[in-house]
Symmetry: C2
Subunit: 416 residues, 2 copies
């Protein structure tokens, strides 16, 4: 534990406020939080990373445009509807979402980031959201971080947030964050959204660099089946309220800030895997001895996304045959006769052949809820690590049908 | 039905003989056919395509080497053990398998193709196979095609074979073939093996060209999750027993032969999907209007291999949101606002937006055992087609564990 954890999630850093309401987007009957606002009293430096899916939801387009033009200092987010595949109307709705809070906050629309998560292809129920604009702003409190984490949940079984403090060059800074959803384990309803706040006084260049680096070694290590959602978004706001000297890009302080941000996002990324839909295993796939970083990545991704490998994890099966098979089709140049495979350090396969470790010992590891598989290609010095999960019959069952969901939405009038 | 079907499978063409025995590789107790031989009385022209997995089973290496050096006229194949990840011993065993029949047939070892399918990482139980060499040769009959189709089965629920006749430039020729296993739907036990025989008098150049073309438009259209086995093999033997003029590569006759071969392999490829493990749907994914062939292929593969899309098929869910989502992350350059998606010609999505077709009509199509999805990118003139299947909870359950299988193998002494 290299950092000190504190409470408060996105409201832990100084001068950050939040609120959330139940607007009836997720369900008109039940009182479930589904519309949230994060706001910094101070102007912010901001950055974001977005889905690379060519089908991009309207809120993604709006947030990207806003970040290109200036700094954002507020985020409005809803769950229950993704506002994706909704055309011109969707863009208008996303902008209207920003307006909902920009006016009462007396800031410009383009200072608001917009995020949505939920079903694809249905228009946002604006008539349910509009009445809540002022209430959201009036409800802003420095104690509402958890409410935001809850309001963005869809198929998540628990809310996920974290906050830490650390000292950078004599100034204590705080980083807070919340996340929802799942990368590799997502249904189309389960976009990955992550909001990060910090009171560090950081330059935009440093913030952008740190965010890219942190996302690459956290969320990109779990979003591995290519099933990248139309709405995936990470937004970070830094309001400088902690004071101290400005953190510039090529400084030791920036390196320290990057490390802290990376640690925070990696914790949340692991939380996402652990909370994956019907997941029973947390498996770390570690590739060593690759010729290049990209080779190591290819091998790790091929193994961690193989349906057969993931099914075997669900069955507590230390099946190295399926692993080496995935190593072979990964398109990385490997040499079968050099491949070693270990379960928690115990060899299952050495030089491409079955090792002498008794099957029962490997089986005991594969039975655990969390274990580590190491694949050593013995070709070079590059490595890569991925956090993965098993594939369960229950996952497939869970994801068999959104039809019920749609039908419900139509009945409720969420669809025109 | 452009060709006339005939009986006999790989023995339908003239001068082809086959036999199969229960050697106890699959199961020492039960009498299950697991060792087979195909033999042409006449010398053959031959060709093969093999797995591109960098982890290649020993029999694949041996067959490749034999085809490089000369023509093969016999194939020995076993099920129950893949002879993969078995090192030098595996290569010795694969060569010994060829010897088993080469000696009694009085042909050279290098004239024999060798194939294995089954578990990975265990040595071949040679002591069970060796006693059957002469019996295999003595049992050769022109009526044993079906026995071969049965002997190569592993998780297949039924044997799969076909034979047709057609006239090429006045000569009636016959093509016979059998296949086992599954591409996209395979466990590591379910390699795809396909043996093709023909009495056409065809040049090696024509045969090679036709085989590549036919495999590209058949098996490569179902082997789409990258889960390419260590053992996948297609072998074709042409003995010329039908007579007639030699079919040269750049002739009209070669074109006719290609078409026939393509038709045969496409029928078998579809059979593989239909017989996939715990499969309930046969879905044709058709991409049109792509800028390039590769773009069309990327989109079709992204859709057909998406866990979420395949789960929704299992649930009878006409979920075009998940489809366009996969189209978006396929890495093909697409424009969301131009994408149309149809179920059996009925629009579900037009220009990236929900179409007006009543959900119930789409649902009725998605409920069928077999349906076609068309994705029109409206960008160009290239297209691509894939035959796919759903992903069922039962598939995952079925593939959870080979541990039981291994343990059994150890008890039975199949493992040293």
């Amino acid at each position: 534990m290299p950092y000190q954890k504190v409470k408060g999630g996105v409201c832990a850093p100084k001068e950050f406020y939040a609120s959330a309401v139940a607007a009836g987007i997720k369900s008109p009957e039940m009182e479930r939080l589904d519309l949230a606002l994060i706001y910094s009293q101070e102007p912010c430096v901001s950055s974001g990373t977005f889905t690379t899916n060519r089908v991009k939801a309207a809120p993604v387009r709006v947030s990207q445009a806003n970040l290109r033009k200036n700094e954002i200092r507020a985020i409005i987010a809803n769950s229950g509807n993704a506002n994706a595949c909704t055309g011109i109307k969707g863009l208008q709705d996303a902008r209207a979402m920003a307006d909902l809070v920009a006016k009462p906050l007396k800031i410009r629309r383009r200072e608001v980031g917009v995020c949505s998560t939920g079903v694809i292809g249905l228009p946002l129920p604006m008539e349910r959201m509009t009445p809540h604009g002022e209430a959201l702003v009036e409800g802003l409190k420095p104690s509402n971080g958890t409410k935001v984490a809850k309001a963005i949940m869809t198929s998540d079984t628990r809310h996920k947030q974290i906050a830490i403090t650390t000292e950078i060059e004599g100034t204590e800074i705080t980083i807070g964050a919340c996340v929802k959803g799942a990368g590799m384990i997502c249904p189309s309803m389960a976009t990955m959204l992550c909001f990060v706040t910090t009171d560090a006084r950081v330059s935009r260049a440093c913030l952008e660099k740190c965010l890219l680096e942190a996302v690459e070694s956290s969320f990109n290590r779990v979003t591995i089946d290519g099933d990248m959602s139309t709405n995936d978004t990470v937004l970070v706001l830094a309001n400088g309220a902690a004071g101290g000297p400005n953190i510039h890009r090529r400084s030791k302080s920036c390196r320290q800030f990057c490390d802290a941000l990376k640690w925070v996002l990696t914790e949340l990324a692991k939380d996402i895997v652990r909370d994956g839909e019907r997941v029973t295993k947390f498996v770390t796939v570690e590739v060593k001895g690759a010729r290049t970083y990209l080779d190591a990545k290819k091998v790790a991704e091929a193994v961690a996304k193989s349906q057969l490998v993931k099914s075997s994890w669900n069955g507590n099966d230390p099946n190295w045959g399926r692993i080496i098979h995935a190593v072979g089709y990964s398109r990385a140049p490997i040499r079968e006769e050099l491949v070693d495979i270990y379960y928690e350090g115990l060899p299952a396969c050495l030089g491409g052949l079955v090792a002498e470790t008794p099957l029962e010992k490997l089986r005991a590891i594969a039975k655990k809820g969390s274990f580590r598989i190491t694949i050593d290609l013995n070709l070079g010095k590059s490595d890569y690590k991925i956090y993965s999960s098993d594939l369960s019959p229950e996952y497939v069952d869970f994801n068999r049908s959104e039809y019920a969901y749609w039908n419900q939405a139509r009945k409720e009038g969420t669809v025109g």
